[in-house]
Each structure stands twice: as C-alpha cells, then as structure tokens.
C-alpha cells in the first residue's frame, strides 16, 4: 500500500511538532523516519497510525482518504517501542488477539486462528514459547512477538516505533538484519522510527530525515549519504569535517584541492575523501596528532592551526593497509588533499 501525507501539521500547545509535512511512500518500501530527539518522527508515525490526530492535513493509504478513520479501522499494524504486549495473556493469545476481536461475521474459526498464529510464531522463530507470558521473555523475544502480533491482522502498512531502542547492542544488530530479511519475504510497506542513523542506513530502502518538525531530505541511503541536501543532513549522516572560509585560508583551500564557488561558505568533507602524505615542507600547519584502530579502518586525528591561533581537529579515515604504507608517526607534519566536498551556504 502506498502512503501519501499531505500538508500534515501538529501542535502540542505552543510547541509546533510538525510543519506542513508532505511525504509520499511507494508501496513495498522499508522506510526509516530518522532524526534527533524532538524532531517529530514519532508524532508523525502515530499520526499515520491514527494514534494521534493531525491538526491539519490529510492521510491517504493506497489512494483512500483515511484521515478521519479511527486507528482500529485503518488496517495498520503498530509495533510499540516497549512492545505493549498484553501482560496477562500468553504469547499465543497475544498474537491471536487481533483475529479474535474481529466482528463475528468476518472472524475466522478458532482452528484457523490457531493455525495462523502458529505459522506467524514460526515465522519469527518463537513457536516454542507460545505458552509463556511476556514477563518470561527476553527483550528481543518480546520484540519479535510484538511484530508477529501486528502481522497477524494482515496490515497493509507496518509501523514500528524505535523497534530496537530498548535492546542490547548485540541483539540490536541481529534483529536489524532479521527485520530486513523479513521485509523482503513479506513485502509489506513498512515505516520505522529511529534516531540512530547507522540503523536507518543499514536497514531501510528509503530514508526520510526530519529535523524540528520538517523533512530535510528523502531518498535512498546512498543518495542521502553522497548527496546531502543541506548542512543538517550532511552532519547528521555519517562523519564530516567542516571547513569555513576565512580570508587567509582561501589559498590553503586551493592548495588542498578545494574549489571555491562564489556563494558557498562552508565545505563539508567526509573523512574518507581526504588523502594525506608526509610533508616535506616544515611550514605546513597540519600535524598528525593521534590515530585510533576501528577494526578495518583507521581514524586519524590531524591538528591544524587556524590563522587565529586556535587548533582545529580534522578526521581522516582510511583502510589499515593504506595507513601502514604511509609510515607516519605521531607529530609528523602532513599534507592534505581533498577528493570531494559538499558546499553549503
């Protein structure tokens, strides 16, 4: 089911949580709503679900105007951040719930419900827990049960609120992969909210970056990373180095390969877009301060003395091997070369 949001605004008292949001999500995508705390992403998700009402704007699910429909009639599946499993029901009853509360006319028989429930539990690999209660499960298990429960009603769109936020780092990593695979299998249009940009980039096929109630950019992870639309996106996604124009450094910019245009003021450079080499010139303002091993990569800290005397840290990343070949030591003077930069005003 494709989703269209038109002109959505929401205020909480004086606070404007969402400003005129226009968003279109094609069918079958796995979309991440990404942004810092307070940017409105959870509010937006809940508005799509029908758990909040927008003050203005319309919501279309698969072409139908569902703006005024109650959450129980939108045909969505919602997975809560803290799972909201029914604590007094077994895992089986939790997953079967959506089917059991259907109207008598459309309700499947208990036998059919049981079959479907077990199939779903198999899908999330937890059928063996069907008789347990939620408080007997681990966080990761509860997460998967919550997902199975939401899928049981065959929703046309699946909404997940910070699905991995409450889990340990290692569990999180496994579940991310698992969710991505599940989505490939089921192909239900899914939207999840996260503040972790790594997670968004890893899991989603489309990323929507939000900040202070507005959409900053929407695109595939590659597009967002390689072609950030503005400073905020550039800084929020991945690592960047910022270089601002100060008159004496114009020459230096040219020296390191940065082309300046008339209107641009700030250059953002990714750490892996910088080349370094040992300097033969002792007047170079850049010193190699330190480096850290990050597994296959090395992160190098360079110190540059600005014209006003204050030092600035520049981060460079490169593969281990490449760094070894450079044979650099702490304290060495180095030259920079910039391969690629994004300019912003």
């Amino acid at each position: 089911m494709s989703i269209l949001l038109s002109n959505i605004s929401k205020n909480f008292g004086q606070f404007a949580a969402l400003h005129d949001i226009d968003l279109e999500i094609p069918e079958g995508e796995l979309v991440a709503l990404l942004g810092p705390s307070g940017c409105g992403k959870t509010t937006l998700l809940r508005i799509i679900a029908g758990l909040e009402q927008a003050d203005k704007g319309k919501i279309f699910l698969n072409g139908d105007d569902k703006t005024d429909l109650h959450v129980s009639q939108r045909g969505i599946g919602f997975v809560f951040q803290h799972y909201a499993l029914f604590r007094h029901m077994t895992v089986f009853d939790n997953v079967a719930f959506g089917m059991r509360v259907k109207d008598k006319k459309v309700r499947p028989s208990e036998a059919e419900i049981a079959k479907k429930t077990h199939a779903l539990l198999e899908l999330v690999q937890l059928d063996w827990l069907h008789n347990r209660f939620p408080d007997q499960l681990s966080g990761g298990q509860r997460q998967r049960i919550a997902l199975a429960r939401a899928l049981a009603v065959e929703p046309s769109v699946l909404l997940l609120d910070e699905p991995f936020g409450a889990l340990d780092a290692s569990v999180r990593k496994d579940l991310r992969q698992w969710l991505r695979n599940l989505h490939h299998e089921l192909n239900v249009t899914s939207i999840f909210v996260t503040h972790d940009q790594e997670e968004a980039m890893e899991v989603a096929s489309q990323v929507v970056v939000l900040n202070k109630g507005r959409i900053e950019q929407q695109g595939s992870p590659a597009e967002i990373y390689d072609y950030p639309a503005n400073e905020f996106v550039s800084k929020f996604i991945g690592q960047t180095n910022e270089f601002t124009l100060e008159h004496q450094t114009v020459d230096w910019f040219k020296h390191i390969g940065l082309l300046i245009s008339e209107q641009s003021k700030v250059a953002h450079v990714r750490p892996h877009d910088i080349e370094i080499a040992k300097s033969t010139n002792n007047d170079t303002p850049i010193t190699l301060k330190d480096w850290q091993h990050l597994g296959a990569l090395i992160r190098i800290e360079l110190m540059k003395n600005l014209p006003n005397g204050k030092p600035k840290l520049v981060y460079v990343e490169m593969p281990n091997e490449q760094f070894k070949r450079l044979q650099l030591n702490r304290g060495d003077k180095v030259d920079l070369k910039i391969r690629h930069a994004h300019w912003f005003n």
Binding site: G50, L51, E52, Q53, D55, H70, V71
Partner: protein, 275 residues
C-alpha cells in the same frame, strides 16, 4: 481534545463521572453551604462563639492533637520495626495494622469503653495503681483517637521507609557517622515529610471522629463533649441553624486541613523523587 477521539469513551465516562459526583457529593455538600446562608452573619457568630461550642471545639482539637502526636511517635516505631526487622509473626502484625480501618467505629467505641471505663479491667488497674482515670474523661477520647490514627501514620510512613535508599546510610557510615547520627541526620529528615503527612491525616480524622469516641468520652458539655456530638445534640433539639453553623465551620476547617495535607503529600513526592 484530540486524544478523546482515539481512546474510546470520553464523553460517556466524563459526563457520567461528573453527573454522579454532583448527585452524590456536590449537591448534598452544597446544601450545607446554602443552608448556612439562611443565617445572617451575626447569628452565625453568636452560635459559634457560644461557650459550649467553643469548649467543644477545644476538646475536639486538643484531643485530636494529643492523639496524633502519640500515634505519630509510636506509629513511627511500628513502621520502622515492620520495614527493617524480621521476627516471628511479622506478617500477622503487618496485616493487623489496618484493623482500625476495617473495624466499624461503633465496635471500636464500645470495646475501648469497656476496657477503660472505671469498672473495666484496664480502667480499674490504672485507677487503683496510678490514680489515672481514662474512661469518661478527655483522656478517653485521646485513647480512642490513637486507636483510629495508627493506620494513618504507619501506612504513610511505611512506603517511604521501604523505598529509602540505604546507600545514603552506607555513605554516611563510611564517612564516620555513628548509628544515631545516621538516624538523626540522614534517615529522619528524609522520612519527616511522610511522618508529618501521617500526623496531619490522623489529626484531620481525629477532629471529626464520632463513633469510636462517644462511648468512652463521657460526653459532658464543656469537658468531654466533642463537636460531632454537639451537632447531633443540636439536631435532636431541632436547632437546625445551630447544627448548620457548627457543621459549616467544621467543614471549612476540614477542607483547609485537606489542602494542607495535599501540599504535604506533594512535598513528600517531590522529595522522594530526589531520593
């Protein structure tokens, strides 16, 4: 009110709540207020300042105060013992604390009267050995009020003691404080707001208490007559203005006490948030 469109039942539950509240509580209570407007102000003052009325207020307030103090002292010890020590039969005693809540006041009244009246076994014992008469004297009122105050103090202090972060005690100890210093400087100041709340609750309850008091009190005007009894006496004499005026005064005082207690409880919650 967008939330009202998502969670079902906003209109029915809120309107029923307000309706039932008005019917059962607000309208009856407001009768008292409106009826007292039928009195003119001078009459009201005359009634309230009559010696017997003033005496009754004095008796009610002083006995409630005395009882609240004693109950707070012993109630604190009981709460301490229940939360910090283990001993045989603790479960039983813990459950027993709520007896004054569950027992009808009249039963408490006749029992305490029987024990403490001059012919009762404790009454006789105290009279003969200490020349102390409890029954039919204001002291009897205090005893009855202590009985009903116990759960207020214990149940208010207990949760705070239970939640108390013992790491503060450990820190103080490690810095060289003696056990008594730890108690007076660390534990007690943090428990005090809850204790004060329990005290205030006992006091408020004690001022208006009727059933457990009238059997043991003696009920002599000017000496051991409490305000609720005075109201009933006025009613029996068909002195409606009198009863109304006194009741209104009691009501206002109760509400002020309620306000105070709410503020105290707010203070307790704020402090426990910091604990």
């Amino acid at each position: 009110m967008s939330q009202s469109r998502i969670m079902p039942g906003f209109r029915p539950t809120v309107s029923f709540t307000v309706f039932y509240l008005s019917l059962v509580v607000l309208i009856p209570l407001s009768t008292l207020v409106f009826k007292s407007f039928e009195l003119n102000f001078d009459d009201y003052v005359n009634i309230i300042t009559h010696k017997r009325v003033v005496a009754a207020f004095r008796v009610s307030f002083t006995t409630a105060l005395g009882a609240a103090v004693i109950a707070s002292f012993f109630g604190f010890i009981v709460a301490w013992v229940l939360t910090r020590y283990s001993f045989a039969g603790k479960r039983f005693f813990h459950a027993l604390i709520d007896l004054p809540f569950a027992l009808p006041t009249a039963v408490a009244g006749i029992v305490l009267a029987t024990i403490f009246q001059p012919s009762g076994f404790l009454g006789k014992f105290l009279k003969e050995n200490f020349d102390l008469q409890i029954g039919f004297k204001p002291a009897g009122i205090v005893v009855a009020l202590i009985f009903i105050s116990i759960p207020f103090v214990v149940r208010t202090v207990e949760p705070v003691l239970q939640e108390f972060d013992s790491r503060m005690e450990e820190a103080a100890s490690s810095l060289g404080a003696t056990r008594w210093q730890v108690f007076t400087k660390i534990i007690f100041p943090n428990i005090f707001p809850a204790l004060l709340t329990g005290f205030a609750l006992s006091f408020a309850r004690g001022v208006g208490e009727y059933g457990s008091v009238i059997f043991i009190a003696g009920n002599l005007p000017y000496v051991s007559e409490i305000v609720p009894l005075l109201i009933i006496t006025k009613l029996e004499q068909y002195d409606m203005p009198g009863a109304t005026a006194i009741a209104l005064t009691m009501l206002v005082i109760s509400f002020l006490l309620l306000l105070l207690i709410n503020l105290l409880q707010h203070w307790v919650r704020k402090r426990s948030g910091q604990l």
